[in-house]
């Protein structure tokens, strides 16, 4: 037994040493994923970003990732393991990793951390996010043009500001085209459950919505929409394969450029904490090709996209009312980022009661 222990200890030491020696040559950049890197949605988009980073800076860095890390106590262990194993820069790519990242960042002041979609920073912890709502505003406009009934269905995950913001952007876009437009919201209370997402899609379609959008991660709703012959929007990745004649467009997350920029700063020793929130104009968010729609709708969508990119159009610009009819933004006024990041109310036109 003693011999075995000794052998194990030696092996561990050798592995540890070789890993240490290797890390000295190349900086190690690590990623923590909430899902599988081939989930066809959120995590896959991050992994594509990682591969682009490897391609761009592969001679100076090596990347490592942990996939399907559950949010909660396990996440803290996973992040800490990476920090201990010599990662110099760690990207944690889900909102639910926020507190775990904060804790580990405090323990490892020499390691740099970047947390996606969160709001807590530290001297060695930056946050980054994408203005997904810009894409959802365009989707809302398209939905208003494409829907015959003036009602769209929205499959939501959890009532967090990010998701509420998306719903409001969609409705605001739609009502810019059709002031009577309404949406029905179903909360699936999951990011990832193909069956439940499909059930939610069926529930919405059975009650008469003829355009569907989702803020959950699988292609199941797109599949149901295709089966029932209505149109739908993809989420996080281009989902055209699941609905070649169904997908109107999709919000596609493109993190690559951001990862390259920040990792370069890290290599140059110029990395500093920040809260980055880029959008369509920075290319962190792109729209999948506008398909399955008439040319005039496509032209309108492209026009809106250009205006958002140039800064001429801000999606949340008054006059806008809250769901209860009270004024939110006066004519011409735009929302500040703080309100958006803590959004906990609906705008007018949402046929749902916001879970608090």
């Amino acid at each position: 037994m003693k011999k075995l222990l000794f052998a194990l200890a030696t092996t561990a030491a050798v592995i540890g040493f070789s890993a240490g020696a290797y890390a000295a040559d190349k900086a190690k950049v690590c990623f923590v994923y909430v899902g599988s890197k081939t989930d066809g949605g959120w995590t896959q988009a991050h992994d594509i970003g990682r591969l682009e980073l490897e391609k761009a800076l592969g001679d100076k860095i090596e990347t490592q990732f942990l996939e399907s890390v559950p949010e909660g106590p396990d996440a803290e262990r996973a992040i800490e393991r990476l920090a201990r194993s010599g990662c110099g820069l760690i990207y944690t790519t889900s909102f639910g990793f926020m507190d775990a990242t904060v804790k580990v960042a405090a323990k490892f002041p020499d390691v740099k951390f970047e947390h996606a979609t969160g709001y807590k920073t530290a001297p060695n912890l930056a946050t980054y996010n994408s203005r997904f709502y810009e894409g959802r505003y365009i989707q809302g406009q398209i939905a208003a043009k494409m829907s015959k009934k003036g009602v769209a269905g929205y499959i939501a995950s959890f009532p967090i500001p990010e998701v509420v913001m998306g719903i409001n952007a969609f409705v605001t876009g739609a009502r810019a085209i059709n002031p009577d437009f309404k949406i029905k919201v179903v909360w699936a209370n999951t990011w990832f459950d193909p069956g439940k997402e499909a059930d939610a899609a069926k529930a919405l379609i059975d009650q008469g919505v003829d355009v569907l959008t989702q803020h959950t991660d699988t292609t199941a709703p797109m599949q149901v929409a295709a089966e029932r012959g209505i149109k739908a929007f993809g989420q996080a990745s281009d989902m055209i394969k699941a609905g070649p004649e169904t997908q109107l467009t999709a919000i596609v997350d493109t993190w690559g450029a951001y990862y390259i920029k920040r990792t370069q700063l890290f290599l140059d020793g110029k990395w500093e904490t920040q809260s980055s929130w880029d959008g369509l104009k920075d290319g962190i968010l792109t729209m999948a090709p506008y398909t399955n729609m008439p040319d005039d709708v496509k032209a309108m969508a492209e026009e809106t996209q250009k205006k958002i990119e140039s800064g001429e159009l801000k999606p949340f610009t008054g006059p806008l009312k809250k769901q209860d009819g009270s004024e939110w933004l006066a004519a011409g006024a735009s929302s500040d980022d703080g309100t958006l990041l803590g959004m906990n109310f609906y705008v007018e036109g949402v046929d749902d009661k916001l879970p608090q």
Binding site: N189, F192, P194, G195, K202, Q223, P355
Partner: protein
């Protein structure tokens, strides 16, 4: 088609995998074996069913592959717990973790592919019955199988000699052994039946419910099936009642949300579990009835003394 028919169709799709996995586990548990690996066997069935369907173009071959995958995978559990007498609880949990991992690995190339949906089998005259016709007689093969299986298991357990032997093994393996019943063989067969049913339930997920493969796509349904067996106090038809109750409550809450009913969605999401717990309390109220139906040797290992 009215909204209630549409709702019923959605409920049936959601309840069928629960019923299938639960009826298999019921037989396993009636033989005295507790297999907590339902989730793992289910997800293996989903993966293999999908792969076979994509490879051959026939969802019926996919169904067979799903059944075979579940049965083979449960054989591993059988070997460890029945032959090597490993702890059933630990082995079952390990089977779930293993199933999730292996299925993700073998089915990775199939991610993002659109599958082939199992076609409906329409009964000519019966499907014309108003309301019930389209709901009950315009379904896919797996739905019909699920009902036939429950009826078959009910008959087998309580009307056949082999079923009596299986129950006696579950109630007192020592007495059954003394009577000359081959306890280990009986349990192997029961475990494999449970695996095959869970595999079929998995195939339903990737061929009917959502014709695609996604990692971990069973999303906890195996655990609900396990709870249903207790809910049903090991009686076959109660599995159908429990599965459809759970399906009905979880689907109705989605429809209620789309309708804009204004009840917090977190509460609505908890309703299926709440309903299950309440019924469970009502059922177990009668302690004598519960004891009669609970397999007395459940979870206990058997080593024949030769």
């Amino acid at each position: 088609m009215g909204i209630f028919e549409a709702m019923l169709l959605t409920i049936i799709t959601a309840a069928t995998p629960l019923v299938l996995a639960a009826i298999g586990e019921l037989v396993t548990e009636r033989s005295g074996v507790l297999n907590l690996g339902v989730e793992g066997m289910m997800v293996m069935g989903a993966a293999c069913g999908f792969i076979a369907t994509q490879a051959t173009g026939s969802p019926y071959i996919g169904i067979l592959a799903g059944i075979a995958a579940g049965a083979l995978f449960s054989l591993l559990f059988g070997f460890l717990t029945l032959t090597l007498v490993a702890n059933q609880v630990a082995t079952g949990l390990a089977l779930t973790i293993l199933g999730l991992g292996v299925s993700s690995m073998i089915a990775e190339p199939y991610l993002g592919q659109s599958g082939i949906k199992l076609p409906q089998i329409v009964f000519p005259v019966l499907s014309d019955i108003p309301f019930l016709g389209p709901v009950l007689f315009k379904q896919d093969l797996i739905f019909y199988l699920s009902i036939a299986l429950v009826a078959g298991v009910n008959w087998f357990l309580f009307k056949s000699r082999a079923g009596l032997k299986l129950r006696s093994v579950g109630d007192s393996h020592a007495s059954a052994h003394a009577l000359g019943i081959n306890v280990i063989r009986t349990r192997y067969l029961a475990v494999m039946f449970g695996g095959a049913s869970a595999g079929l339930a998995g195939a339903q997920l990737s061929l009917v419910y959502t014709p695609q493969w996604a990692e971990n796509m069973s999303a906890g349904r195996g655990w609900i099936a396990l709870a249903l067996v207790v809910f049903a106090s090991w009686r076959p038809w109660r599995i159908v009642a429990g599965g459809y109750l759970f399906g009905a409550v979880s689907i109705s809450q989605l429809y209620a949300q789309a309708f804009g009913i204004g009840i917090p969605s977190q509460l609505l999401s908890a309703l299926p579990y709440l309903a299950t717990i309440i019924v469970l309390i009502l059922i177990s109220h009668n302690r004598r009835m519960t004891l009669i139906n609970t397999p007395a040797s459940l979870g206990k290992s058997f080593v024949p003394d030769r």
